[in-house]
């Protein structure tokens, strides 16, 4: 039998040594392996239309409209039911997307390259707050904004990055984690850093001052601007750790609104899935947990890579998610040390005496201690098109870790 300890150490070293650089922005079809016109990539593990949650369906409809494949919800649904649309998890195409994660062939996407190991990862562009596709909204204003992002912002970012060395997202995260971000629910500092790095690059290439101002304002106002490059960076790190024979380190955690799925480094490409849990959160005015969709999104790639909920201790501004005190935020991170393999060599927490963030979830420890990963998450309305209704904490179902352990025992003949 493989030396598990050693395999895990190797996996987590690869995860931490991966150095994802934001290299560019391009049309999905041109860069994402296997992307094609009628393919809709979505968040989480594989799922068919019939089992999709409200926001996921809404996003699929919006994606088809945006792509010009359907003119309205009705025709979009008809297309899907006629089998004209293919679905695949973003994760099957080296990609990730927040919430519904819907990404279509002509959408502009970020290109991240892991300079250490050479692998790439991709993510769509962040739409900001309010009514957005990722929460299943597909009204005209949503489509209009997406078109603007694709036609104005995307090309401008592409041009800006093209003439640069790229942006080191790991370094950016190291810094933003010292500025109150945990990289998942809070990306305020990171987004400002990101905008600051982009601004001179954009200024160099922008041809229209008004458009330039518009793009910079959009990036600067959106406290989630950097979320998508961060997610793709985490994906590049997690992929680098995948496929280490004998390793029990989790390399994917993702939700599609219906199922929560994980994959494990030493267990090939198998998904272990179970129905998602309901997030425990704080709600926007007028909403309650009754309105919440099941847990959704690929953004759990941040926790997979050792930030997000795992780095709660470093984000005192959002301690309310963990009941309100800085001590509880510390406890959240301390708890995650118990189910992880290593302390991150690049992401550190000042108020834990610069200990590295808990990195590399070990399915053995999760099952043994009955202690599940802590995930910070936004909460979508259960109906398509309403949008975000809150934010909070969620844990994956225990069953998927148990199933993964059983599969491990089978594969490695224990």
């Amino acid at each position: 039998m493989a030396d598990i300890q050693q395999a895990n150490q190797q996996a987590v070293e690869r995860m931490m040594e991966a150095r994802p650089i934001l290299k560019g922005v391009a049309v999905a079809k041109d860069v994402i392996p296997g992307m094609k016109d009628n393919l809709i990539m979505h968040a989480g593990p594989p799922i068919e239309w019939e089992r999709m949650s409200g926001p996921m369906r809404g996003a699929v409809i919006g994606g088809l409209i945006c792509e010009g494949l359907a003119k309205d919800a009705k025709s979009a649904e008809a297309m899907v039911k006629a089998g004209e649309v293919e679905f695949a998890p973003c994760h099957h195409h080296q990609s990730v997307g927040p919430m519904a994660g819907v990404t279509t062939a002509s959408m502009m996407v970020y290109i991240l390259e892991n300079e250490t190991h050479g692998n790439q990862a991709y993510s769509n562009l962040n739409e900001g707050y309010g009514k957005v596709l990722r929460y299943g909204a597909y009204s005209d204003e949503v489509i209009t904004k997406l078109k603007w992002m694709n036609d104005v912002m995307g090309p401008m970012l592409a041009a800006a990055l093209e003439g640069s060395d790229g942006i080191d997202i790991r370094a950016l995260l190291s810094e933003s984690l010292h500025m109150g971000d945990e990289g998942h629910n809070r990306n305020k500092a990171g987004s400002i850093l990101y905008t600051a790095k982009l601004a001179p690059l954009i200024a160099r290439v922008a041809k229209d001052e008004a458009e330039e101002a518009e793009v910079l304002k959009f990036l600067g106002d959106n406290a989630l601007s950097v979320l998508n490059p961060v997610m793709a960076a985490c994906k590049a790190m997690a992929d680098a750790a995948h496929g280490v024979e004998g390793s029990t380190v989790v390399t994917t955690m993702a939700r599609n609104g219906t199922d929560f799925g994980i994959r494990v480094s030493g267990l090939d490409d198998a998904w272990f899935t179970a129905p998602v849990e309901q997030p425990d959160g704080l709600y926007f005015p007028g909403y309650t947990s009754e309105d919440a969709s099941g847990d959704i999104g690929d953004s759990t790639i941040t926790e997979t890579a050792g930030i997000g909920g795992y780095a709660m201790a470093t984000a005192p501004a959002i301690v309310q998610f963990v009941s309100g005190t800085a001590q509880d935020a510390l406890n959240a991170t301390l708890e995650m040390y118990e189910i992880t393999v290593a302390e991150h060599s690049h992401f550190t927490i000042p108020n834990l005496e610069f200990r590295g963030t808990p990195t590399g979830t070990d399915i053995r420890k999760v099952v043994e201690l009955g202690l599940l990963p802590r995930i910070n998450t936004g909460i979508a309305h259960k109906e398509a098109g309403v949008g975000q209704v809150g934010a909070g904490l969620v844990r994956p179902p225990m069953k998927i870790f148990e199933d993964a352990l059983l599969a491990y025992a089978k594969k490695y003949d224990l």
């Binding site: 709600y283 001590q327 301390l334 708890e335 118990e338 043994e368 224990l414």
Partner: protein, 556 residues
């Protein structure tokens, strides 16, 4: 009818999470139907409008303003809710913000890396695994759990010996380490009396007694109730004894136990005899061979043990220097006096086992043939079988000289012990016959030792001084009482156990411990000022046997 009231706080910025928390608290108030607390951005105003929470006042708010809206059953409730906003924002629930409770030993060890001790009080079936994990990470174990199998205990303790770690328990209730009580322990002052106990309440009674008599405790090491059974062979008590022996802060040692297995008692006493410090032995129910032998003091009970320990600690205990390094070989005691033989046997059989004799008190120690010695032997040559047709050996040395010759030629013999009884009626000059023989044998057998137990007075006709000096000149050690003789011979021949494995390193101060299980032990550690971490322990894999067994396989 519902009433909606709002309040604007211009320029007051709060993170949205704080605001959502406040909103939740407002909704929980009596009479409040719904509430919204937002920064008044256009998007947020829209949200409020959707929920029928947007007032005219609210519409006029700026994006930098904090907007608080409450919809309640009546105006009074709405106003009351708004009045509470400041207080609610300050509120902290008492159940939160507690110190971190680790979920695993490894997690706790990361947070308290200096922890040298692990207290374990989980259900017995899991206890050995937890103890194993603690030892794998180099920690001493205080194992309060019971229902741990004897095999597990032996396995753990063997490792403990190899690694220089103490396994106190299973079923160990009491210890005091560096002044900090583990488990059930009395608060006693620190001092120079060190204890090792297989009995928790025994340790408590004696340590409390020591304190009440003005003495103090250096360490009180528990062993668990089965430590002195033959199978476990006093593994932990021997480690503890060695620790206290080496500990410069310990002047007097106390051993406490329920009646130990006979051979275990023997080994312990052998070892204790070489401690180089006074050792008070409180084996409750054990018949001591004498009140004191050498550095060993046998207590009649726990109060007596405390009293003895404090007296020895305060009185400047003296330890006989004759307890030199032990020699190899058997004892052959050739006695002329029956009672002297019996009392010597009684004393020595506490240290040497077995001691064969023709005056044996235990059946299994009876000599098969009084004429032939076996292993350690004490033979009374005044018995009828020897005196038929000849004079009693107090008057006639011939028999003893011949037996001495045989014993001296036996390569397995290391020490020959003779009693020499002077006085009226006895041989006129025993030394004249015995001493030259001793000298001759010593010349022929370099390593052979002789002890003469001389019983007499300075008024006896044989001239005590001349007798003593003749034996000494011949190379014998001369002793004047049975107690001295037992103490001396026990020290010469009872090797004790060779110190196996790794010695236990000096305990670090201040004490730092991880508590797995019963929370009151953790609280007590904290109350005593020790550094401690609580592990919120649960059965592995939630008690799922299949998963637990896979996990176990993956560990190896």
């Amino acid at each position: 009818m519902s009433v909606t009231k709002s309040e604007i706080r211009p320029g007051a910025y709060f993170d949205s999470v704080v605001l959502m928390q406040l909103q939740r608290s407002l909704v929980a108030l009596d009479g409040v139907e719904d509430a919204g607390v937002v920064m008044a951005t256009p998007a947020n105003l829209e949200l409020l409008a959707d929920s029928d929470l947007l007032t005219g006042e609210g519409k006029a708010a700026n994006p930098d303003d904090l907007l608080i809206v409450v919809r309640a059953d009546n105006a009074k409730a709405a106003e009351a809710a708004l009045a509470q906003v400041d207080e609610l924002m300050k509120q902290r629930r008492s159940s939160i913000g507690q110190e971190y409770r680790a979920r695993s030993l490894a997690g706790a060890a990361k947070s308290l890396p200096e922890a040298e001790w692990t207290l374990i009080s989980v259900p017995g079936r899991y206890a050995a695994d937890v103890a194993q994990e603690a030892m794998d990470s180099g920690k001493h174990v205080f194992l309060y759990s019971d229902n741990v199998s004897l095999e597990d205990e032996i396995k753990l303790k063997q490792q403990g010996v190899e690694k220089g770690l103490l396994v106190m328990g299973p079923d160990c209730g009491t210890a005091i380490i560096n002044g900090i009580g583990l488990g059930f322990a009395n608060r006693v002052r620190r001092g120079d009396i060190g204890l090792v106990g297989a009995s928790g309440t025994g340790l408590q009674a004696i340590t409390a007694g020591i304190h009440n008599l003005g003495g103090g405790v250096s360490q009180a090491i528990g062993t668990g109730g089965r430590d002195l059974k033959s199978e476990v062979a006093a593994s932990t008590m021997l480690q503890g004894l060695a620790y206290l022996e080496a500990d410069p802060a310990t002047k007097v040692i106390v051993l406490v136990s329920k009646p130990p297995a006979a051979e275990v008692a023997t080994r312990l006493l052998q070892t204790a005899r070489h401690a180089g410090k006074p050792v008070v032995v409180a084996f409750i129910g054990y018949a001591p061979p004498a009140p004191a032998i050498g550095n060993l003091y046998f207590a009649a009970g726990m109060d007596d043990a405390a009293r003895l320990a404090v007296e020895l600690s305060q009185g400047g205990a003296k330890v006989d220097s004759k307890a030199a390094a032990p020699i190899q070989g058997y004892l052959r005691g050739l006695f002329s006096g029956g009672t002297l033989a019996s009392e010597t046997l009684l004393g020595l059989q506490a240290f040497l086992s077995p001691v064969f004799s023709n005056v044996a008190m235990r059946k299994e120690q009876e000599l098969a043939d009084p004429l032939t010695s076996q292993a350690h032997t004490i033979v009374d040559l005044g018995e009828d079988v020897f005196t038929v047709g000849r004079l009693h050996p107090m008057m006639d040395n011939d028999l003893r000289l011949r037996r001495m010759q045989e014993e001296a030629e036996d390569k397995e013999v290391g020490l020959i012990l003779l009693d020499v009884v002077l006085g009226e009626g006895a041989h006129a000059d025993p030394a004249k016959e015995l001493a030259p023989a001793i000298a001759k044998h010593k010349k022929a057998h370099k390593d052979l030792e002789f002890v003469a137990l001389v019983v007499g007075t300075d008024e006896d006709p044989q001239n005590l001084d001349e007798q003593v000096s003749a034996f000494e000149k011949a190379g014998a050690v001369v002793l004047r009482s049975v107690a001295e003789t037992v103490a001396y011979v026990a020290a010469r021949l009872a090797a004790g156990l060779p110190a196996a494995g790794q010695p236990v390193a000096a305990f670090s101060e201040p004490l730092a411990a991880i508590n797995v299980g019963v929370e009151s032990f953790y609280e007590s550690l904290k109350a005593q000022g020790a550094a401690a971490m609580q592990v919120d322990w649960r059965p592995p894999a939630g008690g799922n046997e299949e998963l637990a067994s896979i996990l176990a396989k993956m560990r190896t």
